[in-house]
Amino acid sequence: MSLFLAKRFATFIATLLGASVLTFLALEILPGDPALVILGIDAPESAIAVLRLELGLDRPALARYLGWVSNLMTGTSANSYTYKVPVAELIRERLEITLPLAVLAMALSILFALPLGIYAAQSHDKSGDVVIMSASQIGISVPNFWMAILLIMFFAVNLHWFAAGGFPGWSSGVGPALKALLLPAIALATVQGAILARFIRSAILDTMREDYVRTARAKGLTRRATMWRHVLRNAAIPVVTIVGLQFANLLAGTIVIENVFALPGIGRLLLQSITNRDLVVVRDLVVMIAAMVVTINFIVDLLYAAIDPRLKPHDV
């Protein structure tokens, strides 16, 4: 393994640890007595005492932290306070909606952005470029939940093509399930796709100004061949970074979008748990989302190493 990857792997592990510590501290120590927070100040003393025992609050913080982390590692977890089922089970169920949604949105975003970004770069400063860039500027400015509401208004309220929300479950078949995820995914992909298209365009334009692109042209390569062989791969390095960051943003975006469409995913679970003061669930969810983001960043690093020979160990 190259030094670059070794370093990144160390960062990956350290960030995971840090994320768990931060989440633990934020939810267990900062706001005072969690039992009090969950039940509210007016709760009877006895109820609080029972809950404290149930949450294991009589043990010292470090022990509770270690217990929690080892539970996370083994996949066993405490019961949700409101749902009375293990949190892991709850999350697994909800992920079945959130993950496909995020992946679908990411795919749509790339599908829009890649051709548009490349086309805009190739027609730099011409009308096609100006139109695409203006449209993407507007796309960036639209809040994704408003986009979602507009989509509901148009496709559900006016055209009746889609339901205004809800999820039939995967058991009702892949078709209907995907159909329910399509509008939410489009709402998420609009903003991300607009950002990505702009970024792809500028990455390509920057690369096209490089000396080695001129060298390739001097060799007699056509514009098209130069674009495919020299520009796109080099421009991919910054684009991969952004796609990684975007996936993280998409995961966060699902929290809002799932609430617009009343999809029972982890975003909705998170919000409901906050409203219900179900801190056990909140804690696990936050750590899981952070872990997913960190994992994606690590995958991005792996991609870098695959693309860029400068990150491989020298054989000199």
Binding site: E210, D211, R214, R223, D308
Partner: protein
């Protein structure tokens, strides 16, 4: 007929302060096997001239005039036909060997790219040809280096790779734009010697562009001196040094400190007053008039045409008589 004929080539750049005529009416001819040096200071138009010959001008530049390669007017060719000439009949080497190579491709692949494009080579034949090229430009262990990436090579080796790339299809003309400016003096000499030997061996014509008078003087048979977008003086190397006619060329050559010069005399370096002008500010008449001690109203009124001042020796100055006189008396 000459291999390359450049006739009244002009390049106009679109700048924030309006159009700038960066190259104005450059004409020259290059025979097969001939070596031409273009020398001048920054902004004199020498690099743009080279890029115009290749049809690789930046987006904000427009060229006019004729560039005729072996009877074909390049201006009349479409992009595909130009691509068949670039890298095939005309090769080019650039200044920065680090940035001129794609960091993500092994050097072997980058060298072989032109061969694959123009000769349709592939597989073992392409590899064999690439290995031979690497050996030809003096890179040790070609078998290993063919897989190396640019960042694993030294500056001199990278420039050797660039040379191998430019020469891969045996072009008739090699254009080298400041090929050694980014390199150390000792490496510079190796690279220049290599270029000179290969040009001779392959019978190519060479256009060597440099701001360094010594580099030009040692490596070409004929020199064109550029200032303000025009060729102010052109002559065979020996004739030029024997009889400099243009006031700018005289001033330029007198301003160079030479090794060993101090021992001969304690004289000061001669200087040209003023500064190298910005392109959009260049005057309509003789572009050197503002810095020239001999300039008169006629010089400022109209751009001078090249006049013959000796065999195969021309200068674009209406006061060459005075200039040569003042130099002789100095």
């Amino acid at each position: 007929m000459a291999l390359l004929e450049v006739d009244n080539l002009s390049v106009t750049l679109a700048t924030a302060r309006g159009p700038a005529r960066a190259v104005r009416g450059v004409s020259f001819a290059l025979e097969r096997g001939e070596t031409l040096g273009i020398v001048g200071e920054s902004g004199c138009g020498k690099s743009l001239t080279a890029l115009a010959l290749m049809g690789l001008l930046p987006e904000n530049a427009r060229a006019t005039g004729r560039v005729v390669l072996d009877g074909i007017d390049l201006a009349g060719l479409n992009e595909d036909a130009l691509c068949r000439i670039r890298g095939n009949r005309v090769g080019m080497i650039f200044q920065e060997p680090m940035t001129s190579l794609n960091p993500l491709h092994p050097v072997g692949r980058q060298i072989g790219e032109a061969l694959a494009t123009h000769r349709g080579l592939g597989g073992a034949a392409l590899r064999a040809e690439t290995l031979e090229l690497l050996g030809k430009v003096g890179i040790p262990e070609p078998e290993r280096r063919i897989r190396s990436y640019p960042h694993e090579l030294s500056g001199g080796q990278r420039q050797r790779v660039m040379i191998a790339m430019a020469l891969s299809c045996r072009p008739e003309i090699l254009i080298a734009d400041e090929p050694t400016t980014a390199l150390d003096v000792t490496v510079q000499k190796q690279i220049l010697d290599l270029i000179r030997d290969l040009v001779r061996e392959l019978g190519m014509a060479l256009i060597l562009i440099s701001h360094d008078l010594g580099v030009i003087a040692e490596n070409v048979g004929r020199i064109a001196v550029m200032y303000g977008g025009t060729i102010v003086e052109a002559a065979p190397t020996a004739a030029l040094f024997a009889d400099l006619a243009h006031p700018y060329a005289q001033g330029l050559f007198a301003a160079v400190p030479r090794v060993g010069w101090r021992r001969d005399s304690n004289a000061r370096l001669a200087t040209i007053p003023g500064v190298v002008p910005d392109l959009p500010d260049l005057p309509n008449g003789c572009t050197f008039a503002e810095r020239c001690t001999l300039a008169n109203d006629a010089c400022r009124a109209a751009a001078p045409m090249p006049i013959e001042v000796g065999p195969n020796h021309s200068a674009s100055c209406i006061r060459t008589d005075a200039a040569r006189l003042s130099r002789k008396s100095a």
